[in-house]
């Protein structure tokens, strides 16, 4: 059953003020288009969870969408600080909750599994455990050392960008797959954005590649170039210049507001964003093909 819809409808239908959102993608396939649509629709009091908030959450916090951020690495990857979130935290203007990457992804894995919690081995340091009461320790019932546990994280909505999906929401993704699967299975609702909508037969030609199945997907949106300034493996490159530029923009509230006006509020959708980027940028981010070798499933 087709779930194809516009991104704007998907966001307005499935997200509510106050929701816990997990926009997935570890450094790759970051759903910037959906983040911008959330800003454009003026959502408030969201709890934004991501291993690495990256620029997208910095922008959403700047726009006033969030009351809290949950992270395991709050930086501008390869550049430095996320100035907006960092500033809000230092001023006491934003709640936060913090894990190591492993703790964060373990919370999602527990959520995806339908388990109340999952264990991790001890790491020596206890400082994070002491400032985050959700991190606990329990005995090993088999007589070993105590283990550390974290509770399941079950976001209200996961937003996952993929390279190709059919209109029902069966999705192929590749390259860095990060926590895409875990976030999708953990969430109560899943909004999928995709570089390409393909026929179901493309998905069925390689079922081992299907990481997200239609049965957990609520909306499918065709949004090419949705990840800029992050990237989609095989489709376009990371726009490192933008990551450097944001470091400058985010140093001034006025510059941030001007940026949001120009790149989010004054435009209607992602295709307008892409047009505004211009051909020079788009060409700079293009990538030459490098194809995988095929495999034989056999016609049984």
């Amino acid at each position: 059953m087709t779930k194809l819809t516009s991104l704007s409808d998907a966001i307005s239908t499935h997200i509510e003020d106050g929701d816990l959102i997990y926009a997935a993608g570890f450094t790759h396939l970051i759903p910037f288009a959906a983040g911008h649509e959330i800003i454009r629709q003026n959502f408030r009091n969201l709890v934004l969870a991501r291993a690495t908030p990256d620029l997208i959450y910095d922008q959403m916090v700047a726009a006033g969408c969030a009351r809290k951020v949950i992270w395991s690495y709050m930086g501008n990857p390869g550049v430095g600080s996320l100035r907006i979130i960092r500033g809000a935290v230092e001023r006491g203007d934003l709640e936060w909750e913090e894990y190591s990457h492993y703790g964060m992804i373990t919370r999602l894995q527990a959520g995806a599994s339908g388990l109340p919690f999952l264990p991790m081995n001890q790491v020596g340091v206890q400082d994070l455990e002491q400032v985050n009461p959700l991190i606990k320790r329990i005995p090993d019932p088999y007589g070993g050392k105590d283990v550390i546990v974290v509770p399941a994280l079950n976001p209200d909505v996961a937003i996952v960008h993929v390279q190709r999906a059919d209109e029902n929401g069966n999705a192929h993704l590749w390259g860095i797959i990060g926590e895409q699967k875990e976030a999708a299975f953990a969430a109560k609702k899943v909004i999928l954005t995709a570089e390409e909508i393909v026929d179901e037969s493309v998905i069925r030609s390689d079922p081992n590649r299907t990481i997200i199945p239609d049965i957990i997907v609520d909306a499918v949106c065709h949004v090419p170039f949705a990840c800029h300034p992050s990237y989609a493996q095989g489709y376009y490159d990371r726009d490192n210049e933008f990551y450097l530029e944001w470091d400058k923009v985010s140093a001034s509230a006025d510059a941030v507001n001007a940026w949001l006006e120009k790149w989010v509020f004054r435009i209607n959708d992602r295709s307008e964003y892409e047009r505004n980027l211009g051909e020079a940028t788009i060409n700079r981010l293009k990538v030459k093909p490098l194809m995988s070798k095929s495999i034989n499933y056999g016609d049984y």
Binding site: T27, G78, V123, V125, G175
Partner: protein, 258 residues
């Protein structure tokens, strides 16, 4: 080979080359971007051709065709041996004991090699809020050997870190040993003055000096009363070959070398 005095090199180059020499052929290394990535790629092109590079984004056996600019750069993926989920990287690879070496970084490194990458000041009311653990809490615990690269500065090497993001030897080696973590801990801190290594108690002491540097230089730039080993050796001078690979092949634009 030219005498050292004729080689111009930056503090970053000095640290990267000395760190690369700590790697052994066949090591499985959990690599960060930036300087650790350069150290690993340099080792692979010199004495450790069978080095296996793992990135916390889930990439195993990367053969980057260009300098990766973030931990998730697509150049790490194309042509890699394997790509797996974050959960798999932290469980099946790191926690299971399949990683030999980890590289750590941080805003503060204390006398026992503990690292702070979380916060300067009080956690609840941060003076400077840093990025936080990322993968480092677990790398420091479970990689067999860990190394740090850091410029030698007093504020970076305090007696005690404001927040323990990752374990060195905690409050002394015994405390780490009692917890029976898999990894041996921080085995070397490579600075631009020399190399610190843990003594029997887990305290970081000066064991090597780069050519031209003195024990006094190190003491002046360390926040605790820095001890030294009985004999402080000199690190081998940088070679033309090492510098050449770094500058021409690995980071031709000098992004991480200055």
């Amino acid at each position: 080979m030219k005498p050292l005095s004729e080689l111009n090199y930056s503090p970053a180059e000095l640290m990267i080359i000395n760190a690369s020499r700590l790697l052994r052929d066949g090591d499985v290394v959990f690599v960060g971007v930036g300087q650790p990535n350069l150290a690993c790629n340099l080792a692979k092109r010199t004495h450790a051709p069978n080095l296996v590079m793992i990135y916390e984004a889930g990439v195993i056996g990367a053969e980057p065709g260009r300098l990766p600019l973030s931990i998730g750069d697509p150049t790490l993926v194309s042509g890699a041996l394997s790509v797996v989920s974050m959960y798999d990287i932290f469980t099946n690879y790191l926690q299971r004991g399949n990683v030999d070496v980890g590289f750590m970084g941080g805003a503060q490194i204390d006398k026992y090699g503990n690292i702070n990458a979380t916060v300067i000041g009080d956690y609840a009311h941060p003076k400077v809020r840093l990025p936080g653990s990322g993968g480092s809490q677990e790398i420091a615990a479970w990689a067999s050997r860990c190394y740090i690269m850091a410029p030698h500065q007093k504020r970076r090497f305090p007696q005690k870190v404001d927040f323990m993001t990752s374990a060195g030897f905690l409050n002394g080696r015994k405390e780490r040993t009692d917890i029976e973590m898999r990894g041996e801990g921080i085995l070397a801190v490579v600075t631009d003055i020399g190399i610190l290594e843990p003594d029997k108690s887990g305290e970081m002491i000066l064991t090597q000096l780069h050519p031209g540097k003195t024990y006094q230089d190190a003491k002046d730039n360390t926040g605790w009363k820095l001890k030294s080993s009985e004999k402080v050796s000199s690190t081998n001078q940088l070679t033309d070959k090492e510098l050449d690979i770094l500058r021409r092949e690995l980071d031709p634009t000098g992004t991480y070398l200055n």
